[in-house]
Subunit: 199 residues, 2 copies
């Protein structure tokens, strides 16, 4: 472990180096208070013009969970059926309506974005995805494991849950305490020199 990282080694392990994507979960429930505490941490890191376009739909009960499962890829269904709670993470393409409140320095940004749906959707998806990165680490900060899944039908999911809204689904995440055989073996990471250049 590098002494150039000032974050406490236990925190490095909990968020980055030891934490793993869980594929099974125990029956231990995840409370609404835990979900709120995750949000209260994840809300702070930065987004462009403080726009915060990430939205979250939590699914627990049997009926909405059946509707959710219908849009998951086959290989993701069993674990999504078994997780204590499932989050559908989405971008709000109408995030600009909040700009006068969250970015009072430049309230007129709202009107510019209102007139440009393409720029707005691009900005919504980019910044909400950034926030998903923060949010996944915040799940780990709550002592829980996350199981993010890109394998689902996003258009179907949007019609199912967001037909009346400006939310667009980006990622589905199982949340809970890891169960038996929760992890696959760790897969290799790319080397620094494959990922980094110096100009």
């Amino acid at each position: 472990m590098s002494d150039l990282i000032t974050l406490h080694p236990d925190a490095q392990a909990q968020l980055f180096t030891d934490a793993r994507t869980a594929n099974t979960f125990t029956d231990e429930p995840v409370s609404d208070e835990q979900l709120r505490a995750i949000f209260e941490l994840a809300k702070y890191p930065p987004t462009a013009a403080n726009t915060q376009p990430l939205r979250v739909l939590f699914v627990r009960d049997e009926q909405p969970r059946e509707r959710l499962l219908a849009h998951m890829n086959e290989g993701n269904r069993a674990k999504t059926a078994a997780a204590p709670v499932v989050a559908v993470l989405a971008a709000d393409t109408d995030f600009h309506e909040f700009i006068p409140r969250v970015f009072p320095i430049r309230p007129q940004m709202r009107d510019g974005l209102a007139a440009d749906a393409v720029a707005r959707e691009r900005m919504a998806r980019f910044n909400a995805t950034l926030q998903i990165g923060y949010w996944l680490l915040a799940v780990r900060a709550a002592g829980l494991a996350a199981g993010p899944m890109a394998g689902f039908d996003a258009d179907g999911m949007d019609k199912e849950f967001f037909a009346d809204s400006s939310w667009r689904s980006l990622l589905v995440v199982n949340i809970g305490k890891p169960g038996p055989n929760a992890w696959f073996p760790r897969l290799p990471r790319l080397d620094y020199d494959e990922v980094v250049r110096h100009a």
Copy 2:
């Protein structure tokens, strides 16, 4: 601070609650070893099929920095000129070439993606953006401040630095120790009930 968060309070403060986007920096240099330590932490959290499409160009010297500044929005130029090091974070649209090594469970994914440039670019941008979320918190884990900026000409930046490559710029980030008057006042965050729904 919530007792539902098991992460140590100092770590919560360092990564989430106290950390701020810096707009000025001291002269204290950021070493290559620090940049490598940031990567060694940020590389672990998950990406779809372990594809890890995030790439980083670091800019320090005067000549490449002038080329960089030419593509930054006016309001971002002075701080980008003054930061000890600047990172251009990018998505590698040819990330699929690494799949047989990083996702040996399904090496044939490489060929499917080779034939679908649209799906590939979407996957590259989404997963690289997730990784930027992890990476910004890893900068903070190194005791440094980040100053992320979306205000630049991405096409111009790509022609300037990535004309010969499959990298596409997503975000520019100043890195260093915060200088005098580094922070603007904290802007308001959205409320839990504005962001979250239960199905």
